[in-house]
């Protein structure tokens, strides 16, 4: 079976995994700071940062991108004053944030080498 290397930079652990593995299957077992809650793509808690190898991850779905955005709205500085969600979404997509640098661990599958970290 094809293999990939997933490095969790916060705990300094690299795991050799079969391709198709989801990040969340590993993050808990290695004790990474990547938190989680529902594991079903609803809550957005397992948001993590892709440091290297974004092209080696499964593509982001519309649902995942919408959950990430909602989550950002909560955690970003200044979210309370954000008047327009659409403007924020546009800005974040333009800056390659959603779906490139930031993903949900429960939704993202690995197809090649990546380096990841908690956000």
């Amino acid at each position: 079976m094809a293999k990939a290397k997933v490095t969790f930079s916060d705990v300094n652990v690299t795991v050799n995994v079969p391709v198709g593995t989801r990040i969340i299957e590993l993050s808990e077992a290695v004790g990474s700071y990547i938190a989680y809650n529902c594991r079903e793509g609803d809550c957005g808690v397992c948001l993590f940062e892709v440091i290297k190898g974004q092209e080696n991850l499964s593509p982001v779905s519309k649902e995942e991108s919408s959950v990430i955005l909602t989550r950002f709205q909560e955690i970003m500085d200044g979210w309370r004053t954000t008047k327009s969600l659409d403007a924020l979404q546009e800005k974040m997509q333009r800056e390659n944030f959603i779906g490139k640098h930031c993903r949900l661990a429960c939704q993202t599958q690995v197809f090649g080498d990546v380096v990841v970290a908690p956000l």
Binding site: N12, G31, S32, R80
Partner: protein
Amino acid sequence: MTQPVWLSERVQWIGALDPTMRSFDIVLKTPNGTTYNAYAVRGSEGVAVIDTVKEACAEQFFTRLEAVASYDEIKVIVLNHLEPDHTGALPELMRRAPQAKLYISKSAQLMLKALLNQQDIDYTPVGTSDTVSLGDRTLRFLHTPYLHWPDTQCTYLEEEYMLFSGDVFGCHFCDERLFNDKVGDFRFAFEYYYAHIMRPFREHVLNALAILEPLRMNIIAPTHGPILRDQPKRYMQRYRELSGQRLQSEVNADEKTLVIFYISAYGSTTQMAQMIRAGAEQVAGVRASLYDMEGGDADLFVDLVEDADGILIGSPTINGDAVKPAWDLVSSFAKINVRGKLAGAFGSYGWSGEAVRMLEDRLRGLKMRLPQSGVRIKLIPSSEELEECRRYGQEAGEHLMGVNAPRVLDMADLLASRQAQV
């Protein structure tokens, strides 16, 4: 008493009294029952119903509602929180007032579908900048998630400086006099409610207070317990106190704290705890401390855990299990937020030694981080085994400070090491 109660010329309480309830959601004691508060707001262009009641109390709610408005006047239904004690009467209300538009927080959408078991529900998801107009009255929504569910929000009636706060600032206290300046002494209920419902979400309480404190406030109208019209800000201030630090911490910002709890029958687990502490203290920036669970109880220790960065628990194995004080400590973690904290377990045993792995599984289940496999030692620790404890403590310290050495593993080994009982 099935009359509505006036909060102002345009706002009425249309909730329900439940004086005989004695325990709520299994986990809370309610010595004098509770109330489910719902409200009707009348504007020049229609009526808004804010929250509903538990299904079993729906009759009271509809009787009061019918006394203040006819169903065809209802333009808006606001749900600040979708838990069934506030949405039990919703399906019937939607049947009786089919024209009314439903307003819920953005995070409540999937819950609404699961609650009504219906996919094609017409509703409007709202966030902090959104308002809905009733003509000469305006409702403004405030995004205050995780108080105490992901979906929770507050609704502010702008013209009257009135906050419909949902469960925030609520308590289980049933008194038909309804207002905080009329009812009996409900302070214990207010504190008890905070401690059991809001405390696990302390960070979210602080975020919500930052939004709510600047608002001018004539009345806070929560979904349970007295309506706070006399000095409402006092209750916000109390939340601020309860969610703050207790004593100024002596730990510096660049240091991390590790608390090590242990209990020991013959002193072996004590020796292990001492060596683990010594190992952790070798890492610069770690402040480690030891607590014998025999000398305290979970209610006291949980405050320590709330502020600690890492928690290790040492228990011997007796009759194939960790001992009760260890489980009592772990079950008290539900009162606070431990998610993401470093955790681990260790212990000596006589002949079977299940305690450590059982504790580790439970700690992982609480979404704590366990980057190391805990130390298990048969009977009296040898000098090599004590060295293993020192190393375990040192590695825990390194994980806390983020200075641990790189490791490479295979996924199969990683998963196997977690399941191994030996």
